[in-house]
Symmetry: C2
Subunit: 354 residues, 2 copies
């Protein structure tokens, strides 16, 4: 029933291969022939059977993006950027959600799930350093995020430590001394939480401010709700606080909520800075300062690396850390209106993974 190249060829009076050549823009075709074929295509309403082409060329032109959930704004924006970056290069993106469940994340690496597409972009959230072995997969894979370092795969990550240090340093520079942290993960040595906390501690040390565990609020999941709860706990604990570093923006928004409820003036009484620079923080009241990890750059780089692998690159695995910016807004008193100002910029870099 569906129209095949065969049918087009018959109608145009040429061979199937010539139709294929026309469709694929092969240059050595007489204009008159090309026109005849194109007319036949239009008349019959021919559309290429992608599966057949994929089978023959051993390539699908699709990549799979595995994220925890699209309803988390950071991942929605990341997916947006990835789709754009892929589209620019003519690739399509299949999206799967792992729900940050360990089992499903392992399935991504095992390749047990329906295995479509030529490669995988994977942003794990449940897996950790112990799972390093699982990352040695047999298909093109680019890992995103901070859960796993040293895997045998290309890796696009952020300069978490320096970003956190710069964010904290920015708070310190405005005279804050009692800086609370929202979102720590006790006992973790790797992952965004641990790295950002390390940056925080380093900034304190640089400024000669003693580290006070009472200022560190734990939060397992990095959602708005947990940010609000953690902030509330910190405030109720009675510890003196004059600034808050939320380890991501979702929690910063939650923390803002908790601060508002207690009618605490921001940044008058307490300054606030987040991490991720999602769109939301530009529209909260007050607007929230944040660390911009360069989402577009991350997406573009990741797609680029993946496509290189797919097309056969055998370079050593690489870790890419795009440049970052600390964006000052009203929650740290850097602006009055809705504007924003870049208060620090950190360079990116690229290194081989041994």
């Amino acid at each position: 029933m569906p129209v095949r190249m065969q049918d087009v060829a018959l109608r145009a009076g040429v061979s199937v291969k010539t139709v294929s050549n026309v469709v694929n823009g092969y240059p050595h075709i007489r204009d008159s022939t090309r026109r005849r074929v194109e007319e036949a295509i239009d008349e019959l309403g021919y559309r290429m059977n992608v599966s057949a082409r994929d089978l023959r060329t051993r390539r699908t032109g699709m990549i799979t993006l595995n994220v925890p959930e699209l309803s988390l704004p950071y991942f929605a924006e990341l997916a947006d950027s990835v789709i754009r970056a892929a589209d620019e290069r003519g690739w399509s993106v299949l999206i799967e959600q792992t729900g940050a469940e360990r089992e499903r994340e392992l399935e991504v690496l095992a390749g047990n799930r329906r295995h479509r597409g030529d490669g995988v972009l994977f942003s794990p959230l449940a897996l950790g350093p112990d799972d390093l072995g699982h990352f040695d997969v047999g298909f093109p894979l680019v890992v995103l995020g901070e859960r796993v370092f040293g895997a045998r795969a290309d890796h696009v990550t952020m300069n978490n430590v320096e970003g956190a240090r710069a964010a904290t340093a920015h708070l310190i520079a405005s005279g804050r001394r009692r800086i609370a942290v929202v979102g720590a993960h006790a006992g973790e040595v790797i992952g965004s939480a641990a790295l950002r906390l390390a940056g925080y501690e380093r900034a304190l040390a640089d400024a000669g401010i003693p580290f006070d565990p009472a200022l560190v609020g734990e939060a397992g999941l990095w959602h708005r709700s947990t940010g609000a709860e953690t902030m509330a706990r910190l405030l109720d604990s009675g510890t003196a606080i004059d600034a808050v570093f939320a380890l991501n923006d979702a929690m910063a928004l939650g923390a803002l909520h908790a601060l508002h409820e207690r009618r605490i003036d921001i940044p008058g009484d307490i300054a606030l800075i987040g991490f991720d620079d999602v769109d939301d923080v530009r529209y909260s009241v007050p607007t929230i300062s944040s660390v911009d990890p360069g989402r577009d750059e991350i997406a573009r780089t990741a797609v680029g690396l993946l496509v290189e692998r797919i097309t056969g690159s055998t370079e050593p695995f690489r870790r890419v850390v795009p440049p970052m910016r600390i964006v000052g807004r009203r929650s740290t008193g850097d602006t009055q209106g809705d504007g924003e100002t870049v208060v620090a910029a950190l360079p990116g870099w690229l290194e081989d993974i041994p």
Copy 2:
């Protein structure tokens, strides 16, 4: 280089078809044979070539979701729900962004874009009633949203008019009389803006309140920023206002921002209700009441209809309108804390498109 069924068959000492049968769970296979095949699969690390299967079965198991942008929270949450619903049925989802550009939306219908997957879920934002003809496409298509009614395709939409009426009525019930609207589109007769405005007007009429054009604020794009701008314009105009109906939640959040800046008490001075019930409105300060269009239900229904079409249904086209709820939160004084309460529930329905 890659392992084929052929290789597995050779190793297990069976025919290719038997391997295929094992992989696809065909029942009449001796246990010992099945085990041998499974061992061979493990030993060789065999993974099915999906393109070959798709070619032979004439089905890909994928659907394409076309949305404006994933960075708009409503569409991110919709995509989340669609992926879940598809996954439950064993389907994968390819996501493409149109950026709400007319050209790209037309391309979706023309099928000119790389045409992968067995069907399309399409949420247009730029196309309108004039483009109805374009929707008569040759592939399974389910339309989402309010831009186009009466297209020759299945359609999952919302009860916009009644939802808006109920939302407005809720404001009126709490004693408000000067209810501003944020996000109207002048001259539109169809689409979310027009329908929701119609519901608003109907609620006013029901209550015998005269319609005052000065209370209607236009906003082309429904973003947070335009919501803030429109709200600011309305406030600056000097019109008396004691409540705001934002035609979607993004604008409600923007409006909230503008209200806060002027230190207006919510809901004391002005009550606020939005539309969509995105996650954000549960974490703003105060939390914002909204109309919940039943996102999960929309997604599940849409995926269900699409899969039916793909598997050959020839039923008449149907329009489905899932049930809706009006969720009361602090911005309308329905709760004190972070809780929420369902202040109204509207039934859904299903109808054939002639």
